[in-house]
C-alpha cells in the first residue's frame, strides 16, 4: 500500500503505555491532521514513526509501514537511510532547530551529501529547493541567527524538498510563528502537496489551522485516537464529545459554523 500506515502502535515508558493507535494512515499527496491537547501523544507518535522513540527512553510495538515496507524492527543503520531521504521532519521552533555555528547552506548541503548527492549537485539542489519555498538562495550564506523564524522554517521545508522526501512529519510547524508568517507556511505546504506530491502529517493543537489545511483529521486524547475522518465532517459535526469540546475552545471557528 502506498504511503504511510500505522497500525496497532503502542508506545510505552516502562510499564506505562502512553500511546495506543489502532489505525492511522497517510496516503500519497494527502495532508492528515493530528490534533489534540498537549501531552496527548502527538509528538511521541512522530518520534515513533521516525524510529527515534528509544532516544527518549520509550519502547514501541506494533507496525509502521512505508509503501508496504515494515519499519519497526529495522536496524538503526537502515532507518538512518530512510530518515531524511524518505521521511523528513520539521519542528515547532525553527530558531533552535538549526545549529548556530554553521551557515544554513552548509547544513543543507551537508545533509544532501549524506543522502547521496554529489559534491557539485548538492549546492544546486539546495538552491533550487530554496527557490521552491520562495527564498533567495543567497540566504544560504547566512547564519541561523540572521534569519527570521519564518525564513528558517522555510529553509527546513526546503531541506525536506531537496532531499525529495515523500513524507513530511510537521510537528507544530507554525506554533512558534506569527499569524501572517503562519499563513505563508501553510500555503507553502499546500503548494508542495500539489507540485511534488508530498504527503504531510500535520501535527497541531490549533483546530482552526487543521480545518484550513487538512484533508483528513485524527483527534488524539491521552494517547488514543478518539475520532478520525474527513476534516470537514469531523470538524463540522464531531461525533466524539471530546472533539466537540476542543472545537468549543476555538471561539472563531465555533461562531463561523
Amino acid at each position: 500500500m502506498k504511503g504511510l500506515t500505522v497500525s496497532d502502535l503502542a508506545i510505552s515508558f516502562g510499564s506505562r503505555q502512553v500511546v495506543s493507535i489502532d489505525e492511522l494512515s497517510l496516503g500519497h499527496a494527502e495532508i492528515v491532521g493530528l490534533a489534540g491537547e498537549s501531552g496527548s501523544g502527538k509528538s511521541m507518535t512522530t518520534l515513533a514513526i521516525l524510529g527515534l522513540a528509544h532516544t527518549v527512553g520509550a519502547t514501541v510495538s506494533g507496525s509502521i509501514t512505508l509503501d508496504g515496507q515494515e519499519l519497526t524492527g529495522l536496524p538503526q543503520e537502515r532507518l538512518r537511510e530512510i530518515r531524511g531521504s524518505r521521511i523528513a521532519a520539521i519542528f515547532q521552533s525553527p530558531s533552535t532547530a538549526f545549529n548556530p555555528v554553521y551557515r544554513v547552506g552548509t547544513l543543507v548541503t551537508r545533509a544532501l551529501r549524506l543522502h547521496g548527492a554529489t559534491k557539485s549537485e548538492a549546492p544546486e539542489r539546495a538552491a533550487e529547493a530554496m527557490r521552491q519555498v520562495l527564498l533567495s538562495p543567497d540566504l544560504m550564506r547566512r547564519y541561523p541567527s540572521q534569519l527570521s523564524g519564518g525564513q528558517l522554517q522555510r529553509v527546513a521545508i526546503a531541506l525536506a524538498v531537496a532531499l525529495r522526501a515523500e513524507i513530511l512529519l510537521a510537528d507544530e510547524p507554525t506554533s512558534a510563528l506569527d499569524v501572517t508568517v503562519q499563513a505563508e507556511v501553510l500555503d507553502l505546504l499546500r503548494d508542495l502537496r500539489e507540485s511534488v506530491g508530498m504527503s504531510i502529517l500535520f501535527i497541531s493543537h490549533d483546530l482552526a489551522v487543521v480545518a484550513e489545511l487538512c484533508d483528513r483529521v485524527a483527534v488524539m486524547r491521552e494517547g488514543l485516537i478518539v475520532e478520525q475522518g474527513q476534516a470537514s465532517q469531523v470538524l463540522s459535526a464531531p461525533a466524539n464529545p471530546y472533539t466537540a469540546e476542543l472545537l468549543e475552545s476555538v471561539p472563531k471557528l465555533a461562531s463561523a459554523t
Binding site: 530518515r83 519542528f91 533552535t96 533567495s136 547564519y143
Partner: protein, 293 residues
C-alpha cells in the same frame, strides 16, 4: 521571490579585528602571551649570558645585586638571573601546554561521551572522575610526583593526572545540554549518524568554555609546577625553572632579595597574561556578543 537585503556575516578576519578593538583584556593578554612566546623562542639571542641557563659558574660574580651588567643580579653560583629568567620561558609555559593538552585529550572525549550518550556510560565515567576529584589536587600531584623519579616528565605526568577530571566535568555539562537541543533532534530526524552528530554538532557547541578554561588554567598549572619544583619534586638544577629558582633562592632572600623576586615576577606575569587572555577569549567567544562561531 522574497527580496532580502544583502547582509553577509563579517569574514573571520574582520570579526577578529572588531573583537580585538572592543576587547582590551584580549589585546593586552594576547600581547603579553605573544611576548612570552617570543622570549621563549629567542632566549639564546636575547640573553646576555646564554651559558648561564646551564651548568656555567662564575665564582667571582656570586650574589651581585642588580646592576647595568646584570639587570636582575646574579645567583649563588654567579649566574646571570636575567638570562635564566628568559630561558625559564622555555620550561614552565611548555609544561603547562603539555599538561593542558593531555587534560583535553583525556577530558574532552570522556566528557562528550558521558554528556551525549548518558545512561550507564555517563554514570561510569562520572563516578570514576569523582574519585579523582575527591582528592585535593595538589596533594595527589605531590604523591604522584614523589613516587615517580624527580624530572620534568614526571612533573608533567603528575599534574596532568590531577588536571583532566575538571575538564570531564566541564565538557560533560555542556555536551549534555547541547545533546538536548532541538537541532540535535533535527539531526537525528535527518538520519545523521551519532559520530557525525558528536563531531559536527556537539563538539563545536560545547568547546568554547573549554578553550577559555584552558587559557585560564595555564597560570594555574605554572603555579602548581612551580610549587612542586619548589618542593624539589620537579625540575632539578641547572634547569632554569622559575619555581626551582624561587626555591633555591629563598635561603638567600635576606639580604639578596633578587634571587627570589625576579623569577617570582616572571611566574606572576605569565599567570596574569594567560588569565587576561582567558577572560578576553570568554568575552569574544560569547555567542550573545559576536557573530564568530
Amino acid at each position: 521571490m522574497i527580496q532580502t537585503p544583502a547582509i553577509t556575516p563579517p569574514r573571520a578576519g574582520v570579526a577578529l579585528r572588531r573583537g580585538l578593538a572592543g576587547n582590551p583584556l584580549l589585546t593586552v593578554g594576547g600581547a603579553l602571551v605573544l611576548l612570552i612566546v617570543l622570549v621563549a623562542i629567542f632566549a639564546p639571542l636575547i640573553a646576555p649570558v646564554p651559558g648561564d641557563a646551564g651548568t656555567a659558574t662564575h665564582p667571582f660574580e656570586v650574589l651581585k645585586a642588580p646592576s647595568a651588567s646584570h639587570w636582575f643580579g646574579t645567583d649563588q653560583v654567579g649566574r646571570d638571573i636575567f638570562s635564566r629568567v628568559l630561558f625559564g620561558a622555555r620550561v614552565s609555559p611548555v609544561i603547562a601546554i603539555i599538561v593542558l593538552a593531555i587534560a583535553c585529550l583525556i577530558g574532552i572525549p570522556l566528557g562528550v561521551a558521558a554528556g551525549f550518550l548518558g545512561g550507564w556510560v555517563d554514570e561510569v565515567i562520572m563516578r570514576v572522575t569523582d574519585v579523582f576529584l575527591a582528592f585535593p589536587p595538589l596533594l595527589l600531584a605531590l604523591a604522584l610526583a614523589a613516587v615517580l623519579p624527580a624530572s620534568l616528565t614526571s612533573l608533567t605526568i603528575a599534574i596532568a593526572a590531577v588536571w583532566w577530571p575538571w575538564y570531564v566535568r566541564l565538557i560533560r555539562g555542556q555536551a549534555a545540554s547541547v545533546a538536548g537541543r532541538p537541532y540535535v533532534e533535527a539531526c537525528r530526524a535527518l538520519g545523521i549518524s551519532r559520530l557525525r552528530i558528536i563531531f559536527r554538532h556537539i563538539l563545536p557547541n560545547s568547546i568554547t568554555p573549554v578553550l577559555v578554561q584552558v587559557s585560564l588554567d595555564v597560570g594555574g598549572v605554572i603555579l602548581t609546577a612551580s610549587a612542586l619544583s619548589f618542593l624539589g619534586l620537579g625540575a632539578q638544577d641547572p634547569v632554569p625553572d622559575w619555581g626551582l629558582m624561587v626555591a633555591e633562592g629563598q635561603s638567600y632572600f635576606t639580604p639578596d632579595w633578587w634571587l627570589v623576586t625576579f623569577p617570582g615576577l616572571a611566574i606572576l606575569l605569565t599567570a596574569f597574561a594567560f588569565n587576561l587572555l582567558g577572560d578576553g577569549l570568554r568575552d569574544l567567544l560569547d555567542p550573545k556578543r559576536s557573530f564568530l562561531p
